[in-house]
Symmetry: C2
Subunit: 437 residues, 2 copies
Amino acid sequence: MTAREAMPNAYVAGKGNLSDEDATLVARRDRALGPAYRLFYETPVHLVRGEGVWLYDSAGKAYLDTYNNVASVGHCHPRVVAAMASQAATFASHTRYLHEAILDYSERLLVTFPSALSHMMFTCTGSEANDLALRIAREHTGGTGVIVTENAYHGVTLAVSGFSPSLGPGVPLGAHVRTVPAPDPELGDRAGEVFAAGVQAAIDDLRRHGIRPAVLIVDTVFSSDGVIPDPAGFLAPAVAAIRAAGGLFIADEVQPGFGRTGAGMWGFSRHGIVPDMVSLGKPMGNGYPVAGLVLRPEPVERFGAKGRYFNTFGGNAVAAATASAVLDVIEDEGLIGNAKVTGAYLADGLRALAGRFDAIGSIRAAGLFIGVDIVAADQPDARRTHRIVNALREAGVLISATGRNANTLKIRPPLVFGRDHADIFVDRLDGVLRALA
Amino acid sequence: MTAREAMPNAYVAGKGNLSDEDATLVARRDRALGPAYRLFYETPVHLVRGEGVWLYDSAGKAYLDTYNNVASVGHCHPRVVAAMASQAATFASHTRYLHEAILDYSERLLVTFPSALSHMMFTCTGSEANDLALRIAREHTGGTGVIVTENAYHGVTLAVSGFSPSLGPGVPLGAHVRTVPAPDPELGDRAGEVFAAGVQAAIDDLRRHGIRPAVLIVDTVFSSDGVIPDPAGFLAPAVAAIRAAGGLFIADEVQPGFGRTGAGMWGFSRHGIVPDMVSLGKPMGNGYPVAGLVLRPEPVERFGAKGRYFNTFGGNAVAAATASAVLDVIEDEGLIGNAKVTGAYLADGLRALAGRFDAIGSIRAAGLFIGVDIVAADQPDARRTHRIVNALREAGVLISATGRNANTLKIRPPLVFGRDHADIFVDRLDGVLRALA
């Protein structure tokens, strides 16, 4: 497997059908950005404008965005842009001066969490949030061991890339990192018990190597493992296992958080657990680089007494004002309710398609986060998945693939996605599946 | 030494002279943000507005900002805000689609570097840039050893905080990290040779422990070591030493970069060297969270072939447009020239003060980055430095302290600082020194 193959839907030089203009941009990218950057699609998309659930390329072609979970309240939402611009024109400095914005935001966000989670810390990226969580957990537990799922993605710092196996075999895992199979929804009620047994085996193996467990960290909707929301509650036994071993449980809400699952603000809620720390990112500022960590006070006591945390841009006044506007929009436009209702409607549409196309296997949905397995003779079919993703791109729909076998369509549109958009998506997927059949 | 004492000018609860309103904000901070956050000053400053080199508190009092190097082209610069808002309202997505903004910016910025430095990678923070630099260097060199100066600060990820000794004894250094004495400007022409000898000793010690050296990383103006720009050229022998050992040299330009030293865009230039990688941050977006890494192609070849780098917000279209507006302002307002001229004027004014006050020891200046040692009987005097910093705050001037002995006034105002501002600063410092004498 090459590094490019390790990333589903990566552009491979020399393939595709680029315009002269876009080929020039690709060449400029290679020269200026170097070899570590990847584009999406066989023929990369050259975007110039976004609005709501729509993105537009340089030729004016419209794409229905069913993939980008950062612009969660809609691309270029005017209320969010206005809040950002207004604060940036007034005051934009950092957390070592007193300022209301960060406090107003923190208090407002903390209300959406169980009361045990009473502190909020600010970073600029989800990677930084997970990195900070590990720093705090190491200080609190005295351990260094990290347990993640087999195809987890948690970020790109040295420490966090070391527990993000989905980055592929070219990116080394840390010596103190153990991977466990993701929960298997096919096991139904036994999924939690089997997952916890995997976590316990990892704990035992860490100890066998003289490593004290520090954290179990999971994306609570298991995005890169293929989207695994159900059966609700399956996380609880694993959380109990890591705590019994002296470790902490970190819920990575960078992808499921801020209402995407349609069942409240946070993905962990469906599992009836209270994490020790919760990391936040992508949709928090609708594209503005703001992220953070919500946590119980105990883990950070020692960390805060022995040292300090300062992130120059993290929690600056503009970040707080922008993130606050995102909460306004989520509330005022009823986006959690919409994620639930439209998500269910979209999932129903996909299930109807599944009745007509053998290529569709399992469908797993939680609000507007849906995974659709693509199979051939009931086996994962990464090649067919790739063809569907790229045919949809030609048909004006942006999507990508995920999962350990790269055969899961990853559907996570902006939360302003409506029934009409769901109809368009199902219709175009229908067309693509018919053409490929 | 307590953790709060490890940070110069940290607010200590119960001290100071807070208004009821501000005391309430402090209490809200403690509750919401927890124990790892620090405020500046005996009496924290409650800021609400910024413009140019001025910041205003909630009572309308104006503060001359001689400290904040993030809002480098001036607080809330309207051109930068407008560019950010305009792009955010149009398109704000990431580097896996084709978009001109990131390429236009990268090519424009790369022109300011020696031609060997031909790639640019984007992160959101200087911490992430230095973390990425280490990941790349580890892959390229096969080593893990890191050499930094005794009071270096490079950032806050797990890996980078592990080579940021200025965070204090409560934050563990990495097992593969060695510290060396910062260059000693008192040694004159021998400073480079002595610094290189320290680096060589660290290389030898790493090897003695079976650790292969990966990088020497320094802030090229040694901000947290007390501001050490001269004698120009002193870095060259140490750079040669790390390269001879198979390691890379990383110039951390997060603080000196983007024209602050008044002698061109980058702090490393004065030393007649070409780094293997250069990290960028703070002033790059005038407060917008954008940072990055400029590097020779060779170190990233293997890293890019084996894996990929994607930073969700890093290099997004808004980041590129905002950073580009910052370059516009630097050019159109002649800020590098201003840093040189006004910096020299300010340094002259401070030297004149030094003739009248024994409390002022050595003055080290490079453009608008100036370190002023505060002494008593020629010995470092952290307590007096602290009193000066806080008396200036009362007199309406924001500043802080730095250096291994916390006795260096750190002067690094926005680059739009003019002669009139320099006069105000010298005059108020004069008043403070007279009052304290």
